[in-house]
Amino acid sequence: MPGLEDLYREIILDHYRAPRNRGELPVPPAYKVEGFNPLCGDEVVLYLDVDDGVVRDVRTSGQGCSISQASTSMMSAAVKGQPIDDARQLIRAFKALMSIHESKLEGDGEADEHALDGVRLGDLEALQGVVKFPVRIKCATLAWNTLEQGLDEAATTAA
């Protein structure tokens, strides 16, 4: 039986209590995307400054449980200043960490086995304990799904 310490690692509680990159960015030029977790009422709002293939700046707002808000904070710190391709790789890697293999439905379960290869998750690995609490996985992935949505939007607008 997994214990609370598996879920609420100290680094997670630290990000929850002192979230990084809180605030807003002027829209436009920044993109604003919102993500909701309808089951719990978690809400994540991201402001993304995407320019020349790089996530120049990220600001976050919203409210929700410690896992959703800590994951949002950790995500913002991880992708800020990163090339979009690296950010997307991180999204895939994080989802793999959460055991969500997007290719599963296409019968290609092998592809994401390697999503984590060569990706440095750093502090994000602290969120791995969430996997033992299946109902909380969507709290942890909310920020990442919202980021993906924002990057897709930016790509569409740019193209």
């Binding site: 609370l4 879920l7 209590r17 719990c40 809400e43 929700g64």
Partner: protein, 410 residues
């Protein structure tokens, strides 16, 4: 205490188990109640001894199953104070009962511009069917607001009901614990020429329900919240309404005759019971009613009122200003459902930590998002009590909440 809670607890096998090495403290009965041995046995006995499809077989066990199924209908009719078993349509739950009314009665009787009145404390089950109808038919939906004391603000009710065809409201809130003055609300609906639909999901398990005294037009109940199994509930409606209403779902059982060019529906209530129904579940619900009547609904109410008073006091004493309780503070016209939040700690985090202590509470929006918007919160934690809960359960909740507070202390 108005009855021996320890004896009641002994009838619920699940309460003997442990979670995370702790005694199971089940405080989520507003979501779904636990089941006594009597219900499990009644269903098991049917499957072992008398199971067959109902109303079909010309053989002994089918006749026995039919008698058990229809016996459950009669038992429920009696429990609700209905005039006849034919006023009871079995459904899966209140959600299906309301959808039945929305599809059958409302689509036959409402047109663009007609008005339906709801309240801000409704469960999604009594909102979404009307949203669907509003989108399809151009029906207008109006909302009765709440007062500061988390009760319905009926000061503008007659204006809201002016020109309305239906007033659909809950007898008791699944979030706030608020119990509404059903006869007065029904009277207001009728005075405006509207029909009254009562969602009694959170009322029927806890208080004596008398459809005659309410004088409503439609009443929905759900079995799994009143010690019965899942997938069985009922719609009670006035006989003349049921007679006039077109069928809801089409299929077997609900027909008298089917031809290549059409069909003739069965009599009420079977007209609304398409396909093989949850037979064993109906029998289980009948056994649950027997069990509740064995305790006595007045004793159930008295027990819950005492326990609610104890719980509100205990939460206040221990947490003071740090806890916000969303619901009436007076015990009058209030159920044993208590919603609350702690400043700076999300409901899910509270729920996760108290689970570690064996305490089951619900965290989230409780399928009442419009109400959450009124309260100005994304979610609440909810503890809801029933016949098998006692003061020790409340004490366990308070200790677990104190542990959660310590865990998330900044």
């Amino acid at each position: 205490m108005s009855f021996d809670v320890a004896r009641v607890q002994a009838d619920f096998p699940i309460l003997k188990r442990q979670v995370h090495g702790k005694r199971l403290v089940y405080l989520d009965s507003a979501s779904s109640s636990q089941k006594p041995v009597a219900v499990l046995d009644a269903m098991d006995r049917l499957y072992r001894e008398s199971y067959a499809n109902v109303h079909r077989g010309v053989y002994a066990i089918s006749e026995e199953a039919t008698a058990a199924y229809e016996g459950a209908r009669a038992r429920l009719a009696q429990f609700l104070g209905a005039g006849s078993p034919s006023e009871i349509v079995f459904t899966r739950n209140v959600t299906e009962a309301i959808n039945l009314v929305a599809h059958s009665w409302a689509r036959a009787n409402l047109a663009a511009g007609d008005v339906i009145v709801l309240t801000e404390l409704e469960h999604h089950a009594n909102i979404v069917p009307w949203h669907i109808l509003a989108a399809e038919r151009g029906v207008e939906v109006r909302w009765v607001p709440l007062t500061e004391e988390f009760r319905l603000d009926t000061s503008g009710l007659s204006q809201l009901l002016d020109g309305a065809k239906l007033f659909a409201f809950s007898a008791a809130s699944n979030v706030l614990g608020t119990m509404n003055d059903v006869p007065a609300l029904v009277e207001a609906a009728h005075a405006a020429g509207a029909l009254a639909l009562v969602d009694a999901a959170q009322f029927a398990p806890h208080r004596r329900l008398d459809v005659g005294a309410w004088n409503a037009d439609f009443v929905g109940i759900t079995g799994h919240k009143m010690l019965g199994p899942t997938a069985i509930g009922a719609l009670w409606a006035r006989p003349e309404l049921l007679e006039a209403m077109p069928p809801f779902l089409g299929g077997g059982e609900m027909i008298r005759d089917v031809r290549r060019d059409g069909f003739t529906p069965n009599d009420v209530p079977w007209k609304f019971e398409a396909g093989t129904m949850p037979i064993a579940e109906a029998v289980g619900l009948g056994a649950a009613i027997d069990y509740l009547e064995g305790i006595g609904m007045d004793a159930v109410a008295e027990h819950e009122i005492d326990l609610t008073a104890y719980a509100l006091r205990a939460l206040d004493d221990r947490f003071g200003d740090r806890i916000t309780i969303y619901g009436p503070r007076s015990i009058e016209q209030r159920g044993a459902t208590i919603s609350f939040n702690f400043a700076g700690i999300h409901a899910h985090d509270i729920s996760q930590v108290v689970d570690e202590h064996g305490v089951c509470v619900r965290a989230g929006h409780h399928c009442a998002k419009p109400l959450m918007q009124v309260l100005g919160v994304p979610a609440t934690t909810r503890a809801s009590m029933y016949v098998y809960n006692d003061e020790a359960d409340v004490d366990a909740l308070v200790e677990a909440l104190a542990a959660a507070e310590r865990f998330f202390a900044i």
